[in-house]
Subunit: 202 residues, 2 copies
């Protein structure tokens, strides 16, 4: 039996969005499942690494905006939100994800896809728990229940545990794919991840 | 007539070393020449962007060391210097490069390859102008002359102009490839650069 590959992502990360669209097919080609893990760039990048937000970094911010739009165009991905738009508070979405993963693990990936599609694809504001009511979710997962959970203490506590675990594993960026303990950071690494899976490392 | 693609690099960057081994064949496949441009991460990253050195950044430093060694293994590249080793003062090498590019442009790429091979491949210390005397250079380029030039004012001034120009173009990382004004940062972007060249953008 092989282990699932871990897919660490932040909803505010456009590169996480891009990679989320490829990770399941990639994993499936190598007989792997995907373990979806929400992380928070605000914690890893700002608190632990002591860096400023990417988009506020001179030179790198403008480059990143350009790179994100170029990536979306190349892959034909919907992107109504601009990378230079103000960043939402990611906590309601990330808490909702942590809660669903705990209570309805079979729907965790669908929720992540729904949030990414709404936020980056459609440009919706998901910064309030109530805004999650508008998400298009699979039968069996109530958007009202998700929105309510996102405002509660249990979701906050589940997310804290998930974020602490990702930091402990050394994850700092979105997306990060971990294959049997081997971390790969960045959507640009997915081809290398695939070669690693195919060869079993090198 | 197509323009050369610009290849911006810092000698202290292992990713610049990796990309330097592929850039000429990549460009040639699309009928392009390569315009080699030395830049200084110490100026762009630390002074302009206000970030700490990559290897001193929590989480990202250890990840990068692992990623660099993994990349070298995958591509079979010699690497006697460890990414976690202390970083040399890049000025003598970069000044030598700027001087050779100005006076012997036909040897600029060969000098860059020789420095990268000696520093990263063989683990030599090239932090003093005199250390450049040991470089394996093509006939017509005297290592003694290069070492002497690296210690002089003209080379320093030529490098300053080259670094200023790269900053003005928004280049901040090593390697950065610029195709007809379109910047691509990182060795992981070389496949995308190749698709961009093949399609003429998108």
């Amino acid at each position: 039996m092989t282990s699932p590959i871990q897919f660490h992502f932040d909803f505010i990360s456009p590169y996480g969005y891009f990679a989320s669209r490829r990770i399941e097919a990639l994993a499936a080609r190598h007989g792997r499942a995907v373990d979806w893990r929400a992380m928070l760039l605000g914690v890893s990048v700002m608190k632990v690494m002591g860096l400023k937000p990417l988009m506020d970094t001179p030179l790198k911010g403008p480059y990143t905006a350009r790179d994100v739009l170029r990536h979306a165009r190349e892959h034909g991905l919907a992107m109504k939100r601009q990378p230079s738009d103000p960043v939402m508070n990611p906590l309601p979405c990330a808490r909702a994800f942590a809660w669903v993963k705990h209570h309805h693990p079979e729907h965790a990936a669908a929720l992540a896809h729904a949030i990414y599609a709404a936020y980056w694809g459609e440009g919706q504001d998901l910064s309030q728990p109530a805004s999650l009511r508008a998400l298009a979710l699979p039968p069996g997962l109530s958007a009202d229940a998700v929105a309510q959970a996102a405002a509660g203490d249990e979701a906050a506590s589940l997310l804290r545990a998930m974020v602490d675990a990702s930091l402990k594993e050394g994850v700092f960026g979105s997306p990060t794919v971990v294959v049997d303990g081997e971390p790969f950071w960045g959507v640009d690494k997915l081809d290398q991840v695939e070669r690693w899976l195919a060869r079993g490392g090198w």
